[in-house]
Structure formats: C-alpha cells, structure tokens
Amino acid sequence: MAEIIDMPKLSDTMSVGTLVKWNIKEGQVVAFGDILAEIETDKATMELSCTVPGTILKIYAPAGSQLPVGDPICAIGKKDEKAPDPKAKAAPAKSAPAIPESTGIPCIPEAPKSSHSPAPAQTDGSRTKISPYAKRMAEKAAINAASLSGTGPGGRIVARDVVAAGSAPVAPAAPSGPVNVAVTPPADGKGIQADADQPVSGMRATIARRLVESKNTVPHFYLEVEVDAAPLLAMRETLNKRLAEAGGESALKLSVNDFILKASAEALRKIPAVNASWAGTSIRQHSAVHLAFGVALEDGLVTPVIRDAHSKSLKEIALDAKALISKARAKKLSPAEMSGSTFTVTNLGMYGVTGFFGIINTPNAAILSVGATIKKPVVDASDRIVMGQRMIIGLSGDHRVVDGANGAQFLQALKQVLEAPTSILI
C-alpha cells in the first residue's frame, strides 16, 4: 500500500520546513536510507532519508515550497500503483486531553447584593479596613462594619472591635458613627419620665378588668391570612376620586378600614357561626352584625359600634365610622354606642404593624386584627416573582363558639371579598 511522506519534524522546535531540493524523481526506486531531499529547518538544512523503500509514485511539493510539518510532500509505493490523494489523510490519533480553552466556569457573576450586610461605608474616600474574620463576625451579628472604629494596626477593624460593638446594645461611643440612637419615645411624645405612680382612670380600669376576664376565661385560638390588597387599594383610589369629584373638599374619604368593616360584615353573613356568643349552656347566634372597631385615644382604647353593618353599604359604614370616631375623640360616645357589638375589628396598620392578634372583646366570638399593607415580592399565577401589596389579617377566635374550620372559612370569605371588592357594591 502506498505511503504518504509528510514534511518531517526534523528537530523538536521545527514547525515549517522548506523543501530546497529533490534528489529523486517520480518513478525512481528508493531503498531505506537513500537521501530523498534536502529540507531547510529553523536550525539547519537537513537531509531527508528514505524510511519506506519502494517507488516514488508522486511528488506533491515542488522544490522551493515551504510547508508546515505534517503536510504531504510525496508518496511511495509499489511500481505502477496509483498515487493516493494527498488530501485524504488518515484521521490523526485520538488527541490527548486537550488543554481546555476555558475552565468551563462561567464569567464571574456580579457580586450578589447581600440583603444583610451593607456595603462598607466610604470613610475619607478609602475602603473600610477590616480583617476577614472580623468582617464575618460583623455580618453574623448584623453590625454595620463601616460604623465601627478599628483598634488594629492602621485602624484595621479586628475581632475585638466587633465583640465590643455587639455587647453594647447601642452603637459604641466612637468618633465615627452615630453617637446615640434615640430610643423611640412613647406615643405621647413626652420621652421617658421619671419614676412615678399614675392612678388608673375608670376607663382604663374597666378595660383592664375586661381584658383579664377575656384572656383568662376565653380559650383563644389564632388564625392568620395574607390578603392581596392591590385590588382593594385600586378600588379605594377610584372611589375616592369619584367622591372628590362629586363632593369637593368636604367629600367623604374612604379609608382602608372602611372596606375591611364592610367586608367583615359580608363575611359574617356568609359564615354566621362566627357572629355568635358563648352563653354558658348555649351558643347565642346573632341575627344582626353589629361591628365594633378600635379607636385609639390618649388614655386608652374605645370600641364604638356600627349597628346593623350587615345591611349598610360601604358608604354608610364609612360615614358611621367617621362620625363615631369624632364622637370618641370628643369623649361624647354614649354607652349604647359603645356596647352591643357582635364582632370587633382592630387595625394597627397605620403604625406599620405587619400583623397581630388581638384579645377577644367578650362576648364576641372573635376579633379581627388588621396589619399594614406591605410591598413585597410575591409569586403570581404564572409562577413568576412580581411586586405585590400584601396585608396580613389575624383572627383570634373563642374556641368554645368557633372552631378552626369556621374561623378559616370566615377568613377565606373575608379574603375573597377584599380581593374582589366590587362584590361589596352589590
């Protein structure tokens, strides 16, 4: 079989060679060791000796051609054999594990912005100097490293600085960083007072007595639901705009709480078991829904009652609430307006409280506790993460009257109404 002779590798650094001169002709018979040609390499001009005895069938590379090592230059075989096609070369042997061009590691992703640790503050335009160990400690303790001052060499923050920061409840006194994080004053805005005994008012005493009685005698259980508040907020905006166009300055403004009151009434109509009271040997089912709602006053909480909420429209409920609130603030609520509720709604959302569970306003069977509407990432129907507005609503139930299923159904109904508020208008 014919053999193709390639431009030989004549030195370990050779990559191309020039075929200076052929010593043989096509058709000539050659023996092992005969000099076939002279080849110029990077180092010297060498002789190519024959390693395949036979007949020169074909010369592929004319004298003077410069070729890379491995390109065919001639073919040797048996006399009268057909010269092979120089392009049809045998596939090279299995290659070695190739040096990988890349390591297969994707480009270094942008450093994920950690939601916990703040970026080091730029103090004097330079980076925060902190030892790796101290940095880790600070992250774990949720301490802002940039707020620390370092006692290590060159001002480096080291472990003992983080330890010192963690043991003081407020940020340490240091040249950098806030000196004193003010303690949130109580709602009266007066700041911390000196030691003193304040005599309890009648109202406070009453509230206290009733709360103790409720907590001690009523077996409370707690349920919670998260409501998509976006539809509700949208509707409120629309309705308020309508009201403003119609009524001008003094127009009624619907609050979120108004909607919740209305929705609660609707939900109670659907799940009447929650609109009941424990009567010792019986459970009294109430026919009407009388909604109590919390109003915070200077020295306590009052719960005025909207009577027959089940038959009132949203607007009527809102107007009632508005009126009752101003009476409550003026301390002009009558006893009738403060009692007889069948269900209570309290709302701490305006303070940013995200969720809570109130103490049942006996003889109600349950109390609804409404939290703030929070913007957060949520999963939508197509399993995508989108921005959502969510409100957490808690229900404390009297387990003698309401069981888990009823309570859950009530919350479910409430949620349905709140998330599709147009139903309120029916």
Binding site: D6, P8, K9, L10, S11, D12, F32, K43, A44, T45, M46, L48, S49, T51, V52, V69, G70, A93, K94, S95, A96, P97
Partner: protein, 368 residues
C-alpha cells in the same frame, strides 16, 4: 568549513570484514544453531525497531529526544546474551536496544515513545526511560553518567544478598569524564563489587570527538588502572568478539566479585539524537565506510551464512518479520489512548499507590 575530525579506532578498522576470530571461542561455539539464529534475529529486530522510530518521529508523534542505537546493536546483543538470573543491566538514554534485548515488547516500547498510557512506563518516562525490573533492566537514564553510581549500587545489592551475579553498567564515551563515574569506579574497586562498566565508545559525545574532550584519548578503559581495576577493549562490530571478551569480565564478577571496565568500539549511523544534524562534526564518507565495512548486523549475517546456520531466504524472512513487527508496534502506538489528567499524580510515591490501613504516612503530599 574545517574538515571534521575523523575518529581513529585503531582496533576497529584494522580487520576487514572476514570470518570472526572468535567464532571458535567456547562461549560462541557452544551456541546451538537455534541460539545463533535467535541472536541474529534480536539484532535485526533492534535495527528495524529503531529505523521505524525515525518515521514516527518525523511524523511529529514523538516529542522530546530520540537517541537511536542503529549501528551499535552488537554491543547490547553480545553482552546481554551472556547474562543470567542474577545479572542486572542499567544504561543511559540510548536504551532501546538494551530494552529489546532483555525481552521488552516492541509495542510497549513504541507506545512509550508516543507518550501513550500503554507504554512501558505508562507514558511517564519517554524514550530515555525504559524500565523492566522483572527482566533485571533498571533503565534508561537521562543524566550523562548519573547511572554509574546506581549500577554500582545494584552490584552492591547482589553481593550483599550473597548472589552470584553482576550489574552491567553501560555508558557512552562522553560519560567517562563525569565525576559520578569516577566515584562509581572508586567504590566498585574499593569494595570489590561485581560491576562490569561497559563504555560504548561510538567516537562522539554528541558532536565532540574524543580528542576534543578527553585528556587521555585513544583508550578510555585504560584509566581503570588508576582505580586498580581490570579492563579490556573490544571490537564492537563483531558480536562474537563482544561475547568472548565480555565472558571473561562476567566470570570475574561472578567468581571474584571484582569489577571490570570494558571499552567496546562501536559506531552510530545517525546523529546523537534526531535533532542532531551530524554534518557539523563528521563526514558522510566516514558513515558510509562503517556501513559498508563494519556493520555489525551485516557482518554477523555473513558469518552465519558462511556457517550455514542462515540461508538467504531465512535472512529475508527474519528481516521482513522484524519490519512487520515494528509496523504493528507503530500502529499499536497510534491507536493507544493517552494517559488521563488523573494519571499525572499517580506513581509518584509507593506509599500513596499502596495505601492500606497500616500506612504510617499521611498528610498532604501532592499540593495544589
């Protein structure tokens, strides 16, 4: 260009090609017909293997160095054919001939040249590092003269164990000026070790003739007298002479546990290595002279034809078979797989390759 120095081997060029003076020597006359044919076959196999390597090298499949033994076959063949169970061999980097003589296979040898995992050193040694400890062959070494103390040590172990054996420590004419070789000579003579130092004098240390490298040229073995050692010179183109004179050194090693330095005149037709364009230090005429008149394979062939041990047909078939075997080895090397990346860090430590629950070596020994 100045005329390159022509080496003078007064002994080697003296006798024209004729019947060997040593064919009647008992060590040769006692050989059976089959043994003689086998010896010739082995020489032919070395030649064809080496020649096939040229092609593989030119195809770019052999990296690094390739030092060919073509022309020196009788040295390895003559000496190694005498050796027995407790005789060991170590040599420098022109080691293919010795490897094939002790019985290594052409396939594993060729695969080693191309760096394949099926090579005799699993692709980790290359041309200069053939090893076959099970055949008493201890390599294949790259540093000139570095193997001399090793060979002396192998002889030391043979003596220590009370075995009647030897270590044939081969080196080139360029190695005799290395310090390690002198230290080995001294230790071998001082402690009476059964070493046979075989200086394969092919006239050139790479491109430097003896006159230009050795302060006492003309006879490299004679310096053995400085170490109180026996020495001899041998015509390395005549395999019968190689056997006859080496037998004496072997006997001295076995029976007296004393070392010998043998200088064997021989010749290589190709450059020091494949990368050596040997035109700068010798004439083409010189090479042709040796090929025509002193080729050891051809001379032995003639000898055996005259003895009627070989026939022309047999000669033809032996050579054809050797060529075929070499071709098959090249194909085997081509088709063999490479080592994997994981192989790089294997076979470094015996304790790591043979971990057991009794291992007393732990910790990190390969680093990243």
């Amino acid at each position: 260009m100045a005329k390159p120095a022509v080496i003078t081997h007064p002994e080697s060029l003296k006798n024209p090609a004729g019947p060997s003076e040593y064919s009647k020597h008992p060590v040769n006359s006692s050989l059976t017909k089959e043994a003689k044919i086998a010896l010739y076959t082995k020489m032919a196999r070395i030649r064809h293997f080496e020649q096939r390597c040229i092609r593989v090298y030119q195809q770019g499949k052999i990296g690094g160095f390739l030092h060919l033994y073509v022309g020196q076959e009788a040295v390895a063949a003559g000496t190694i054919s005498l050796l027995g169970k407790h005789d060991h061999i170590i040599t420098g980097y022109r080691d293919h001939g010795h490897g094939l003589m002790v019985g290594m296979g052409m396939k594993e040898c060729m695969a080693e040249l191309t760096g394949k995992v099926t090579g005799c050193s699993k692709g980790k040694g290359g041309s200069m590092h053939y090893f076959a400890p099970d055949k008493n062959y201890w390599g294949g070494h790259g540093i000139v003269g570095g193997q001399a103390p090793l060979g002396t040590g192998l002889a030391y172990a043979v003596k220590y164990r009370g075995e009647k054996g030897s270590c044939f420590t081969y080196m080139g004419d360029g190695a005799v000026n290395q310090g390690a070789v002198h230290e080995a000579y001294n230790l071998a003579a001082l402690w009476d070790l059964p070493v046979v130092f075989v200086v394969e004098n092919n006239g050139y240390s790479m491109g430097t003739s003896q006159e230009r490298s050795t302060a006492h040229p003309g006879c490299l073995a004679k310096r053995a007298e400085g170490y109180n050692m026996a020495w001899d010179v041998i015509n390395g183109h005549d395999v019968y002479e190689v056997r006859a004179k080496t037998a004496a050194a072997l006997k001295r090693a076995h029976e007296e546990s004393k070392p010998t330095v043998l200088e064997i005149f021989t010749y290589r037709y190709f450059g020091h290595s494949m990368a050596d364009p040997d035109k700068t230090y010798r004439d083409k005429e010189e090479i042709k002279e040796y090929r025509d008149k002193k080729d050891p394979v051809f001379l032995f062939e003639k000898e055996l034809l005259a003895e009627k041990v070989l026939t022309p047909e047999l000669v033809e078939s032996i050579n054809a078979a050797a060529m075929e075997e070499a071709d098959a080895a090249a194909a085997f090397a081509d088709e063999s797989p490479e080592p994997t990346q994981a192989d790089i860090t294997k076979h470094i430590y015996w304790e790591e390759d043979n971990r057991s629950k009794n291992s007393t070596s732990s910790g990190t020994i390969i680093f990243e």
